[in-house]
């Protein structure tokens, strides 16, 4: 069955799109989270927090452009359906992204008396973006329908995703800073982890209840076996994170990267579960990836390019993170 390009191409593109969304929620997740944590930090700490994400945020955000681009090019039919249904939250997110992106620059370049205002804009933009993305996630799970219970659920996921982002943001700060700020970030992370657990739990409970199809997939034998490792592994990671955060920081700043790595693993598992549940639908319960896909010739053209370019992109992304490895304070003193 997979010999036919009309079958495997949509699958490959769904996988690529999933990959870029995952990379996006981890990477932009941490820098959005840093923005959401802004009010908890002192002015000097704010500067260090921005320094910890400054060289990366633009490239991080590009994964969103790639994800929506792939949706647009590979599944044009679904692209219209999804984005018109999410018209308002998308607009809120875009305005949030605008405020946040420019605040990065303005807070360092405009006259000093405006700096507070831009710090507020940075926080507000990060918050708007996180909340609206969480809202869209919830509405998507609920099948993109604007009914009261669905909106209520989406409001809940909005809060949870925001907490989740600030959690991963806190783990990034643990890795990129030291001293008082690192200790503060450890506290933030300890608070955030419970929001994350609640969020993943709520989504996992709601998803099968909304869709009989997903219920079927989760709770029928032997399919359930496929899924079982996900909650188990997630539970173990949460426990590990919890005990780790209580003991950190270690002497010589050892393993300061570990919480971020574990958080990433947790996201990946949660995301994998979602992807497994929704497959093969791109618009939940309405449109499968096979029905929504562009013509195979066009997908082929993009695939060639992607296969060449994607490894290159990954390589220079790694390069950038290598060039800017180490604690963020160093940025200002060379």
């Amino acid at each position: 069955m997979f010999a036919d390009p009309a079958v495997w191409l949509p699958f490959v593109f769904a996988a690529l799109m999933g990959l870029s969304i995952l990379i996006y929620v981890v990477l932009d997740g941490f820098d959005l989270g840093v923005g959401v944590l802004f009010p908890f930090a002192t002015d000097a700490e704010k500067d260090r927090m921005v320094a910890a994400i400054g060289p990366f945020w633009d490239a991080n955000e590009t994964w969103l452009v790639l994800a929506v681009g792939l949706l647009l090019v590979a599944f044009p039919q679904a692209h219209g359906d999804i984005l018109t249904a999410l018209y308002l939250p998308v607009a809120v997110m875009l305005i949030g992204l605008i405020l946040r992106g420019v605040a990065f620059e303005f807070r360092a370049k405009a006259a000093a008396r405006w700096k507070k205002t831009w710090n507020h804009a940075f926080f507000a933009g990060s918050l708007m973006t996180s909340l609206s993305q969480g809202f869209m996630l919830g509405l998507y799970i609920m099948g993109l329908e604007w009914t009261l219970p669905h909106v209520a659920f989406a409001l809940m996921t909005a809060v949870f995703l925001t907490v989740g982002y600030s959690f991963i943001g806190a783990t990034w700060i643990i890795h990129k800073t030291d001293g008082v700020l690192q200790l503060a970030a450890l506290q933030w992370a300890k608070g955030g982890i419970w929001g994350l657990v609640l969020g993943i739990g709520a989504i996992s409970l709601a998803t099968p209840l909304v869709s009989p199809r997903i219920f079927e997939k989760w709770f029928s034998w032997p399919e359930a076996l496929w899924l079982a490792p996900l909650p188990l592994a997630s539970g173990l990671i949460v426990l590990w994170l919890w005990s780790l955060l209580r003991k950190m920081p270690f002497a010589g700043d050892r393993r300061s990267w570990l919480p971020f790595a574990l958080a990433t693993a947790l996201w990946t598992l949660a995301f994998g579960g979602m992807a497994y549940s929704f497959y093969p639908y791109v618009v939940p319960n309405k449109l499968t990836i096979y029905e929504a896909a562009s013509s195979p010739e066009s997908l082929m053209i993009i695939l060639y390019g992607t296969l060449i370019v994607l490894p290159t992109i990954l390589a220079y992304t790694v390069l950038a993170y290598t060039v800017f490895r180490g604690k963020a304070t160093e940025l200002s003193y060379e």
Partner: protein, 466 residues
């Protein structure tokens, strides 16, 4: 107002805002690369001084370009789903290549260009600057390919109302692409030249008369003086190309109603679509025929040819295209006048000496003139795009898809609310952007470092060099 008109206003507002910043970053990237290379070559610190100031403007403009660009990529889905559903097989790969080959390149190396100077060797930093400049140019290339294809589509066939690509070479190298791309890239270089000249003149006036300012001002004025004739020539070629493929657009640009020979060049008029004639008209006899056909009696298409017997109007609205064209060409002529006057003044020798007058020899009023022209490139670019895009109406993809067919089925009040949101944000940001540029100029002229912020971003060679 209905969803269609609101969506059009919203799209127009968003793209107009977006294009302002790529117009700056496309050329400024190369200018920075030039400063950097000149520094590496001559070891003369004035180049680095210029680099350090303009890289700040670049970073600011880039951020504005990125965030407004992200808005653009969502617009297709939220407001124009019919576009991708009909021509997605062609537009999709072009947009995908833009993201893959351009956006990641510039976004990743921007970090190294802005913050990496102290972390990587000098050649690598220069290389990162090159890659960022190259990336912005690639962005422009892919998006202009798509836009040009929408004006002069070819290399595809329609199956069940959906366009399928048959010849990618023909799609990419569609007839208007080379002209539009060249004209746009030159527009970017001119915009940046006048921006650098204007801001440097401002710094010179308020007392920041350093060697870095002088070299930036000189480079910018001579650059503009060299490029503007080329731009006028390319613009003319572009117009001839349009005449061939979209005669109705040229008819609207010239406000010419009847197809005829010996058509005059209308310098100014008030076109009136009710009476289908021009009210006031100042014109040069045979001018349009001469420019477009290179013969006094050359036949120039008229708007009335594009009205069906049933009365359906198939040509674009005349007034905005007509005025937009005059604004663009008018600014082009002004740029010629200003850049040549200033360049010749700088090249003149001091009385009784072999030395050229240079920047010191410029009279005050010329410096003020340059300041006034700082953002003239923006005006010309916007005017030009309005001619191009409004001139394509009622089509979205010429002869394939009308704008009306592509619009989303979103309630009008919803579009209105987002439109108001965007306009408010854009209004604030433009003010903040202009304010920040002039603030940076004042700060640099005072020689002060301004607020030193621990952990703040460092451009160029880092804090020590500030």
């Amino acid at each position: 107002m209905d969803t269609l008109i609101l969506s059009r206003i919203q799209f127009g507002a968003n793209i107009s805002f977006h294009i302002l910043f790529p117009t700056i970053t496309i050329a400024l990237g190369w200018v920075l690369f030039y400063f950097k290379v000149a520094f590496t070559w001559t070891k003369d610190d004035r180049w680095m001084e210029a680099y350090r100031f303009w890289v700040k403007v670049f970073a600011l403009s880039f951020a504005m370009g990125v965030v407004s660009g992200i808005t653009m990529s969502f617009q297709f889905g939220t407001n124009w789903p019919g576009f991708m559903e009909t021509v997605g097989n062609i537009a999709g790969p072009l947009l995908a290549y833009e993201v893959l080959t351009a956006f990641f390149l510039e976004a990743v190396f921007l970090g190294i260009m802005l913050f990496g100077a102290g972390r990587v060797p000098n050649w690598a930093h220069t290389g990162a600057t090159f890659l960022v400049a190259f990336g912005t140019t690639m962005s422009a290339f892919w998006i202009i390919v798509l836009n040009s294809w929408m004006h002069t589509p070819q290399g595809f066939e329609m199956r069940d109302g959906v366009a399928h690509a048959t010849d990618w070479w023909a799609i990419v190298f569609n007839p208007s692409m080379p002209y539009r791309l060249t004209h746009m890239i030159l527009a970017s270089f001119l915009t940046v030249s006048f921006l650098i000249a204007g801001i440097s003149a401002y710094r010179w006036i308020i007392g920041g008369q350093t060697r870095g300012v002088r070299v930036a001002l000189k480079s910018a004025v001579f650059g503009a003086a060299l490029l503007i004739p080329v731009q006028i020539f390319v613009g003319d070629m572009h117009g001839l190309n349009t005449l061939e493929h979209q005669p109705q657009k040229v008819a609207a640009m010239e406000a010419n109603w009847e197809t005829a020979g010996n058509v005059p060049l209308v310098l100014f008029a008030i076109p009136d679509e009710e009476t289908r004639s021009n009210r006031v008209e100042i014109a040069i006899p045979n001018g349009a025929s001469l420019i477009l056909r290179h013969k006094a009696d050359g036949v120039v298409p008229g708007l009335n040819d594009f009205v069906t017997p049933e009365g359906d109007v198939l040509h674009p609205p005349v007034a905005p295209v007509f005025y937009g064209f005059r604004v663009m060409v008018g600014i082009g002529m002004l740029m010629l006048l200003v850049s040549w006057t200033v360049a010749f003044t700088m090249l003149r020798r001091k009385p009784g000496s072999k030395e050229r007058r240079g920047v010191e020899g410029l009279p005050r009023w010329m410096l003020y003139g340059l300041v006034a022209m700082s953002f003239s490139g923006w005006v010309a670019t916007l005017a030009g795009w309005y001619v191009t895009e409004i001139g394509r109406q009622p089509w979205l993809v010429d002869g394939v898809l009308t704008t009306r067919m592509a619009v989303a089925d979103v309630p009008a009040p919803m579009v209105l609310s987002t439109l108001i949101g965007y306009l408010a944000v854009y209004g604030l940001l433009i003010v903040a952007y202009l304010g920040a540029i002039f603030y940076l100029a004042r700060k640099a002229s005072k020689g002060g470092t301004g607020p030193v912020v621990p952990g703040a971003r460092l451009e160029g060679m880092g804090v020590a060099a500030e």
